[in-house]
C-alpha cells in the first residue's frame, strides 16, 4: 500500500508530470488524426526515451497511449472516420448523432465514458496485478480460439435484418485476413509474387478503406456539411448525463475492455466491436441502434479506454504484448533496461504503480482537455464538406502510407475504399467484414495449435465448454430479442392497417 502512494509522489513530481502532460498532448493529437494509433505514437516516442529514467519514460509513453482512445472519438463521431482502430464502432451511432446536430452530446457521452472506463482499467490493474499470472495462464490456445469465436458471434447482431449478408461479409473479411504469410506454416498465400502482400493488408488500410473512403465520397456527392441541421443542438453536458444514466453499460463494457486487453493475443482492435455488439445483444429496444443511439457511443468508448489498463498486464508479467502498441512498448522497456517477467511484481512493483497512476492521471487530463476542445471542434460539422474533403483525403492517405511506407498501401487503400463504398451502397455490413478480418489470424492460429496439440480433445476442456456456453447464450439472446421485436413491430403495423 505504501508503494502505491510513493509512486503517486513520484508521478506528481514536476518533471514526471511534465513528461506525462507531453505524452497526453501527443496522444490527443495522434488520436484525432484518423488512422494513427498507439503503434505510431509509440514508434515516434521510442527513440526519445533512450537514457531517460523509467518513471519519466513511463509517464510519457503511458500518458500518450492512454488518451488515444479518448480523442480518437472526434473523427469517429464527427466525420464517420475511425480516429484509430479502437473507435471504429463509435462511428455506428456517434456519426448519425453528429448528422442530427448532436455531435456535442455524443462527444460529451464518449469522453465521460472514456474517463470512467480508463479509471476502471487502472483500478482493475491495481487489484489484479498480484493474482494476474494464474488468470492469464488459464487461457490456453483452445480458450483463446473460443474467445475469437465469441467475437465472431457479434457479427449476427451487427448485421441487422440480413444476417446472411453479415455472415458472408465476415467470411470475406476472414479471407482478406488470410492474405500474406500464413500464421502456422512457412508459406505465403495469395501474394501473386507481389512483395507488398507478403505481410497481408495492414489494419489501418482496411479500416480507413472500409469506413473513411466511402464516407468522404458520399459527402462529396451530396455536397453539403456533415451536420444535416444548422444548429448544434444539445451540449456536451447532456452527453455526460447520458453516461451516468447508463452507468451499468459503462461498467459492463469496462469489464469487457479490461478482459480483452489483458488476454494476450486477442488484440485490442476488436474490443470496441465486442462492446458494441454486447450492448445491442442485451438491449430490448434496438430500433435506434445505427441511427444515433447514445448507448452505441457509450459502450465502445468505455471499453476501449479500459483496455489499455488490461493490456499492460501481459506485457509486464510475461513479456508478451497484448496489442500492437504494447509490442512497441515492450521494446521500450528493453531499451530502458527493464526485463519484463515475474520479478516485475516483486522488484519493480514501484514501476507498475507508476504506470497505473500515469494511466489514471492521463485519462483525467485527456478527457478534460477533450471536453474543452469539443465545443470549437464540433463547429467543423457545419462547414461544407467540399472544403474539408481535401484535408481528409490527405490525412487518410498519409495515415495509410504510415503502415508500411510503400506504394502498396495507397493502392490497397483505393481498392479497399471502392469495396467499402460498394458495400455501403448495397447495404452490406462493413463491421462484419472488419471483425472477420481482424479475428482471422487468431481464429486460424489458435484452432491450428489446438488441433495439433490436443486433437479433438481440446473441445473437452472446461474453459472451452464455459465459453461455448457464453457464445450460445449470447446468440440465443440476440435471436430471442430479435424475434420478439419483429413480432412487436409487425403486430404494430398490423394494428395500424386495421385501424
Amino acid at each position: 500500500m505504501e508503494v502505491v502512494f510513493q509512486s503517486l509522489a513520484v508521478v506528481l513530481q514536476p518533471h514526471h508530470l511534465l513528461m506525462l502532460i507531453c505524452g497526453v498532448f501527443m496522444g490527443l493529437a495522434i488520436g484525432i488524426l484518423p488512422g494513427l494509433g498507439g503503434i505510431v505514437g509509440m514508434t515516434i516516442l521510442l527513440p526519445v526515451i533512450y537514457g531517460m529514467d523509467p518513471h519519466s519514460a513511463f509517464g510519457l509513453l503511458i500518458g500518450m497511449v492512454a488518451v488515444i482512445p479518448t480523442s480518437d472519438t472526434f473523427p469517429s463521431v464527427m466525420m464517420g472516420i475511425p480516429g484509430s482502430s479502437a473507435s471504429q464502432a463509435t462511428i455506428m451511432d456517434g456519426y448519425p448523432l453528429a448528422k442530427k446536430g448532436e455531435a456535442a452530446r455524443a462527444l460529451g457521452a464518449a469522453f465521460s465514458a472514456s474517463l470512467i472506463g480508463g479509471l476502471f482499467g487502472a483500478l482493475v490493474l491495481t487489484v489484479i496485478i498480484p493474482i494476474a499470472r494464474p488468470i492469464v495462464l488459464a487461457f490456453g490456445s483452445p480458450e483463446l480460439f473460443m474467445l475469437a469465436l465469441l467475437g465472431m458471434s457479434m457479427v449476427g447482431v451487427l448485421s441487422g435484418k440480413k444476417p446472411i449478408r453479415g455472415i458472408l461479409a465476415a467470411g470475406m473479411g476472414v479471407m482478406l485476413g488470410a492474405l500474406g504469410d500464413a500464421p502456422a506454416v512457412p508459406e505465403y498465400r495469395y501474394t501473386f509474387g507481389i512483395d507488398y502482400l507478403m505481410d497481408g493488408i495492414p489494419l489501418v488500410v482496411v479500416g480507413l478503406g472500409l469506413f473513411a473512403f466511402p464516407e468522404i465520397v458520399d459527402l462529396l456527392i451530396k455536397g453539403r456539411a456533415i451536420s444535416e441541421v444548422t444548429t448544434l443542438g444539445r451540449g456536451w453536458w447532456d452527453g455526460v448525463k447520458d453516461t451516468f444514466s447508463h452507468k451499468f453499460i459503462v461498467l459492463r463494457c469496462s469489464i469487457i475492455g479490461v478482459i480483452v486487453g489483458f488476454l494476450p493475443g486477442l488484440g485490442g482492435s476488436v474490443v470496441d466491436w465486442i462492446a458494441y455488439g454486447h450492448v445491442i445483444q442485451t438491449s430490448k429496444d434496438r430500433e435506434k441502434f445505427g441511427q444515433g443511439d447514445i448507448r452505441g457511443v457509450i459502450a465502445p468508448e468505455s471499453a476501449n479506454n479500459a483496455k489499455e489498463g488490461g493490456g499492460l498486464i501481459p506485457t509486464f508479467l510475461f513479456g508478451i504484448p497484448g496489442s500492437g502498441s504494447m509490442a512497441v512498448f515492450l521494446g521500450g522497456l528493453l531499451i530502458l533496461g527493464i526485463q519484463p517477467g515475474p520479478s516485475m511484481v516483486t522488484e519493480n512493483v514501484g514501476l507498475i504503480y507508476t504506470a497505473i497512476w500515469s494511466l489514471a492521471l492521463a485519462n483525467v487530463l485527456g478527457a478534460s482537455l477533450s471536453i474543452a476542445l469539443s465545443k470549437p471542434i464540433t463547429r467543423l460539422t457545419l462547414i461544407p464538406f467540399s472544403f474539408l474533403a481535401p484535408f481528409m483525403v490527405l490525412i487518410i492517405t498519409f495515415a495509410c502510407y504510415q503502415a508500411t511506407r510503400s506504394w502498396g498501401d495507397l493502392i490497397a487503400l483505393l481498392l479497399m475504399g471502392v469495396v467499402g463504398w460498394v458495400m455501403k451502397q448495397y447495404g452490406w455490413p462493413r463491421p462484419a467484414a472488419l471483425i472477420g478480418y481482424v479475428l482471422s489470424d487468431n481464429l486460424e492460429t489458435y484452432l491450428f495449435i489446438s488441433v495439433q496439440r490436443y486433437g479433438l480433445d481440446w473441445l473437452k476442456r472446461p474453459g472451452v465448454m464455459v465459453l461455448a456456453g457464453i457464445i450460445f447464450v449470447s446468440l440465443a439472446m440476440g435471436i430471442f430479442f430479435q424475434t420478439k421485436r419483429t413480432a412487436a413491430t409487425s403486430g404494430g403495423e398490423h394494428g395500424k392497417k386495421a385501424s
Binding site: 527513440p47 504469410d181 507478403m198
Partner: protein, 358 residues
Amino acid sequence: MKKSIFVMILAVFAFFSVIPASQGADFSGKTIEWIIPFNVGGGSDVWARLYAPFFQKYLPGNPIVAVKNMPGGGSIIGGNYFQTRVKPDGLTVFGSSGSTTFPYLLENPKVKYDFAQYKIVFASPTGGVAYIKPDLGVKSVADLKGFSKPLAYASQGATSLDIIPLLAFEMMGLKVKAVFGYKGRGSGRVAFEQGEVNIDYQTSTAFIENVRPLIKLGQAVPLMTWGVLDENGNIVRDPIEPDLPCMPEAYEIIFKKRPKGPAYNAWKAFFIAGFGVQKAMWLPGQTPDDIVQAYRQAAAAIIADPEFQQVVEKSLGGYKQMAGEHARKAFDQVLEVPTADKKWLINWLEKNYEVKLK
C-alpha cells in the same frame, strides 16, 4: 621555374587526390541510416537503438546515426533493399539478424541479398537455454538417454530459429512434436507454463528473467545451453549457465561420443547464424577500405567503452561483442557451410515438416 610549377601542380593534384580518401572517413554533419529490417520495438530494433548513440560518439565526425525500420517479409524486404538500392558511401548500413541469415542459407528464392559480398562491422551473439517440465522425471540431460515419452515444443515455424532446438532434440533421440503457430518465444514460454507444451528454450535474457524463477519453484528443469563460440570457432559452455553442458557436450553425455556428420555440421552452421553471430552490422561490398576501417575501429572502441559494457550486461545478455576481423572470422563459418550439409538440412526440413523451400 617550370619545374617548380610542375611540382606545385603535382602537389595540388596529390593533395586533392588524397582529400577524398580522408574525407571518406569523416562523417561530420552527415546522417547515417541504419536499416533494420524489423518493426520498431523488436529485438533487433532495440539492439540497434542501444548501439546507435555510441556509433554517434565514436565514428569520426560524430554523425547522427538514425535507425530506419524497414519491416516486411520476415526481414527479406529490408535485406533486398540494402542489396539493390544502397550506395557504398558508408552513409547507409544494414543490421541483420538470424531471421535474415536463415532464408539466405536456405536459399529462399525471394532473397536477393548476399552476405558474402558485404563487409561486416561487428556482430552480437546470444545464447539459448533448453528446459523441460519436471513431471517427466528428467533431472538433467543424462536422463534423456533412451527417453521415449512424447514431448511437445511450441514453435514459430520450421524455417525459423527453431531449427536449432528441433534439430538438437532430434539428434539426441527425443520424440518432440513441434506445435506450430506460436508468435514468438514469449508465447512459447507461456504455453510451457500452461502445460500446453513440455519442452522449451529461451534466449538468455528472457531465461534469466522468466525461467529461473520457474526453476526455483520447481516448475522447470534446465537441460542444456546451445553454447557460445570461442575465439577459435569452437562451441563452449555459455557463461550465463556455466554449470549446464552446452549442446555438443550434452550429446556426448548421452551417446558417449562427440557429435559429427552432416546433421551436426548443419546444426553448427545454423547455430552460428542464429545465435553465435545472431545480429551483425554490414556495409555494402564496394565500400572503400578507409570507411570500413573507420566503422570497425568505432565498433572496437564502443565495445571497450565501460559505459557500453553496462548496456551489454543489462540488455544484451552480457555476451562478448565481436568487432571487425573477429566478427568476420565467426561469420565466415556461416558462409562456408558445405553445400552437402546445407542440402542435408533442406532435405530434413522437407521430410519432417513438409516444408517446400523452392
